[in-house]
């Protein structure tokens, strides 16, 4: 096979069919089901909820249409009065570092969304104070909404614990940040408290023209933890 033949078109290669079965009596063929053939755009839209949310600036937005569609995003869940080990503020602090590292891109082609797990308490006003407290820059929205909607949104983004008792504990849902390039349908996630520089790297690795990891071991050895 030469190069042109190879690259031309998709090889519709059936997986092996050895065995040479004597044809078995099989049920009569069903009516061919008519399956939908959505466009890429329709498929993308079907994957992400388009619920109404309110930003810390008091603006009403639609999750998919206004926040996700066509954008590169980082999404986490939190609540402002998450005390205990104070994971939420530290997470927010870590994302502040991420925002700094991403620099001018935040607000242009990269957006950060922090969605409250306690919308009843975290009104736009409370969120605004919180954002101001962290000196959050534009391009990062803190979001609240109807509690059932947010609950559905959380589940739809896979921020769920399979143990129902643990699932009721909001502190189980604040550990991961999701990042995605929506137009390319590339989605992944990592712990919110990963090194901020690492989070920025993971995002860049996903981007078609982003920076790539070195194929050599890292020059800066970490402490042996084992």
């Amino acid at each position: 096979m030469n190069r042109r033949q190879f690259l031309g078109g998709l090889a519709v290669a059936a997986l092996g069919s050895t065995g040479l079965a004597s044809v078995q009596t099989q049920p009569a063929p069903r009516d061919k089901k008519s399956f939908a053939e959505p466009t890429g755009e329709e498929r993308r839209r079907s994957r992400i909820l388009n619920i109404a949310l309110r930003t810390h600036e008091g603006k009403e937005v639609r999750f998919y249409d206004d926040l996700i569609r066509g954008k590169t995003v980082l999404i986490n869940f939190f609540y402002t009065h998450c005390v205990g080990e104070a994971l939420c503020p530290i997470t927010t602090a870590n994302l502040v570092k991420v925002q700094e590292l991403l620099g001018h891109r935040v607000g242009q082609d990269v957006f950060i969304y922090s969605i409250t797990l306690d919308p009843h308490h975290d009104t736009p006003d409370v969120l605004k104070k919180y954002a101001r407290g962290f000196r959050v820059k534009p391009g990062w929205l803190f979001l609240t909404g109807a509690k059932d909607d947010i609950e559905t949104l959380r589940r739809s983004l896979g921020i769920v614990d399979p143990d129902p008792a643990r699932d009721k504990d909001p502190s189980q849902h604040i550990g991961m940040v999701r990042y995605g390039i929506e137009p390319l349908e590339r989605w992944a996630s990592c712990p919110c408290l990963s090194d901020a520089a690492a989070i920025v790297k993971y995002l860049a690795w996903m981007e078609p023209e982003g920076k790539r990891p070195s194929p050599w071991p890292p020059k800066r050895p970490g402490a042996s933890k084992g």
């Binding site: 050895t18 890429g40 530290i90 602090a93 009721k168 890292p218």
Partner: protein
């Protein structure tokens, strides 16, 4: 009076809140992490907690657990299509010829250049004898039989460059014949819903140099290729066992490290589950005719069932979108993905015509998250001969065999007592409800493969009394390390730390042995996979491992229902770091967990 109190209280709270925010800003400025903060007691006490507590009492409302959205794939008619027998790849002459460093010349097949990579280690010592070439690309594939009227799905898989045959492909290689596998990445940026067109092909189980290991951060982009160098030499050859002898033949390395059943799959960081689910899976077997052992010939060596009677099967549960009929992957799942359709070598519930004789089935759990416990519908036993593709000391007769993701078990199944016309089923009976792992319950069977007994065939194979002894563990232990796999606020941690691509967590010295302890909290099952060498399990919660785990493995299940219904909190393994240098990962092979950073890296240093 009352109003005053409230007012002053509010002021106080606001003041506290401001102090708290200042504290947080200082934290941001100082770049402290959570662990340091906790050590300093900065956050737990102090004004912050009180201030935020004071804003309003927290009242959780998480009362309704709706169980999420469940998909039901379009129905399938079972046992219509035959089990696909993987194509054996044919050796080719690579053009340009492979080189020690990245190839300066573009490929004559695709026009792609080779990706940046370190030079091949031990290249001159193991110049390639057999070369294979494949291209990762989209292929239209039918998981369902025609009769179901479900349209094909676009999968991404390895396609043999010289023939255009699609996966799962099968490289059958031999000890003493080093291989180069050239893998072109011709995947498109449009993923059709999931996956990424960047890949790193890991030879799972391979004793290979770091640059050919296919580690998660060693991926490269579309329109590039990479040459993976597999020396096909036994571990120990450059260290404590330069050569050894079995059946009158002397070969480099330790004959007791001889391997058999490996597989290759994509390992791109964060995207392994998506890309493997999409079809980037292949088989790699190693025959050891050089020492008259596992020869691939029923008339020599161990005389195991061979040729057309030696069949690898990769089990992968899938979900298909009921509205489109297309392969579906839940991108927004952190716990583990379960499918409602069982595919085997890419077909849902296929059949296999068998003769009244012995077969060798090499069973591989291709994930992403399901654990299987196989039974035969006749109640007859499997004769297990290998664990994770490595011959066991002796055959073990087992009524059922369980494998977690990436684990392999080779079994001999003897159909000689069957009658022509019999239908015998390979079944899974292990209950699993979610990504946490199996419940441990044995439930009503799901039939995965239908064996149709069709006639007789000569059977020169035997079930040997003994197979292959274990390598000597009587070597000095250079270091002991402990690795605790845990979950913290919905995120995976190893020894309390999150994965960091710039951090190497251990620096074992080349040609030394260590003992590692893997531990896990309850509630979850994790198949832990170690790259570079096969290890031996020393203990399971302090007790000797069960007989079927006495062997050489590269995956060990820990945690909930790791063995039967037992939660195995602690597993000790003996492992060695021989012959090669460089970085390798150790990680959970529930590929969804692995994609959420349940991983650490070590680097073998001189």
């Amino acid at each position: 009076m009352k109003i005053e109190i409230v007012t002053s209280g509010r002021k106080k709270k606001e003041k506290q809140a401001e102090r708290y925010m200042q504290e947080m800003r200082d934290i941001v400025k100082a770049g402290l992490n959570r662990r340091e903060l906790l050590r300093m007691g900065l956050v737990m006490g102090g004004a912050g907690a009180a201030a935020l507590q004071g804003l309003r009492n927290f009242k959780p409302y998480w009362a309704h657990a709706d169980g999420g959205v469940g998909f039901h794939s379009p129905p399938n008619t079972p046992f219509v299509d035959p089990l696909p027998i993987p194509f054996t790849m044919q050796p080719v002459t690579l053009n340009p010829a492979p080189t020690k460093g990245p190839n300066p010349v573009s490929s004559a097949v695709t026009g792609f250049r080779e990706t940046a990579r370190p030079d091949h280690q031990r290249w001159e010592q193991f110049l390639p004898v057999e070369m294979y070439e494949s291209v990762e690309k989209p292929v239209e594939h039918d998981f369902y039989p025609d009769i179901d009227g479900v349209p094909p799905s676009t999968i991404w898989t390895y396609v043999e460059a010289s023939t255009g045959r699609a996966g799962p492909l099968w490289i059958r290689s031999r000890y003493g014949k080093p291989v180069v596998h050239r893998v072109h990445n011709a995947l498109p940026p449009d993923n059709g819903g999931f996956g990424i067109n960047q890949t790193s092909t890991h030879l799972h189980g391979g004793h290979v140099a770091s640059e050919s290991d296919g580690g998660p951060t060693h991926f490269y982009d579309a329109n590039l290729f990479k040459d993976y160098h597999y020396p096909n030499v036994r571990a120990g050859f450059a260290s404590n066992v330069p050569e050894s002898t079995l059946n009158g033949r002397t070969v480099p390395g330790d004959v007791f490290e001889t391997q058999g059943f490996l597989w290759f799959h994509d390992h791109r960081f964060d995207f392994t589950s998506q890309n493997v689910y999409k079809g980037l899976v292949g088989f790699y077997t190693l025959f050891s005719d050089d020492i008259h052992l596992d020869t691939g010939d029923e008339t020599s060596g161990l005389r195991l069932p061979s040729g057309e009677f030696d069949i690898p099967m990769v089990f992968a549960d899938k979900t298909f979108d009921p509205s489109t009929g297309k392969l579906f992957f839940d991108l927004f799942n952190l716990d583990g993905v379960l499918g409602d359709k069982y595919s085997v070598n890419g077909k849902i519930q296929p059949y296999l015509e068998v003769k009244r004789r012995k077969y060798r089935f090499r069973l591989l759990d291709g994930g992403p998250s399901r654990v299987y416990e196989f039974f035969l519908s006749t109640g007859q036993s499997f004769i297990q001969i290998a664990n994770d593709g490595n011959l066991s000391p002796r055959p073990v007769f087992r009524r059922s065999v369980r494998i977690g993701v990436a684990e392999r078990i080779d079994v001999i199944v003897d159909f000689s007592d069957a009658t022509v016309g019999d239908r015998i089923y390979l079944q899974n009976r292990l209950e699993q409800l979610d990504g946490r792992g199996p419940t441990g319950k044995i439930v009503a069977p799901a039939d995965l493969v239908e064996f149709r007994v069709v006639g007789d065939a000569v059977d020169d194979s035997v079930v040997p009394v003994t197979l292959l002894d274990l390598p000597d563990r009587n070597v000095p232990i250079a270091k002991r390390r402990e690795w605790k796999f845990d979950r913290s606020n919905g995120a995976w941690v190893v020894n309390g730390a999150f994965f960091d691509p710039d951090v190497i967590s251990a620096f074992p010295k080349q040609n030394t042995a260590e003992i590692w302890t893997f531990t896990s909290g309850g509630g979850w099952y994790h198949p832990i996979h170690f790259h570079l060498e096969e290890f031996q399990i020393l203990s399971r919660d302090g007790a000797a491992p069960p007989v079927f785990e006495v062997g050489r493995k590269d995956v060990v299940g820990i945690g909930e229902n790791a063995i039967g219904n037992d939660n195995i909190g602690e597993t000790r393994v003996f492992l060695q770091f021989r012959d090669f240098l460089g970085d390798y990962p150790t990680h959970c092979h529930n590929t969804v967990h692995e994609d959420h950073a349940m991983m650490f890296r070590f680097e073998v240093v001189p």
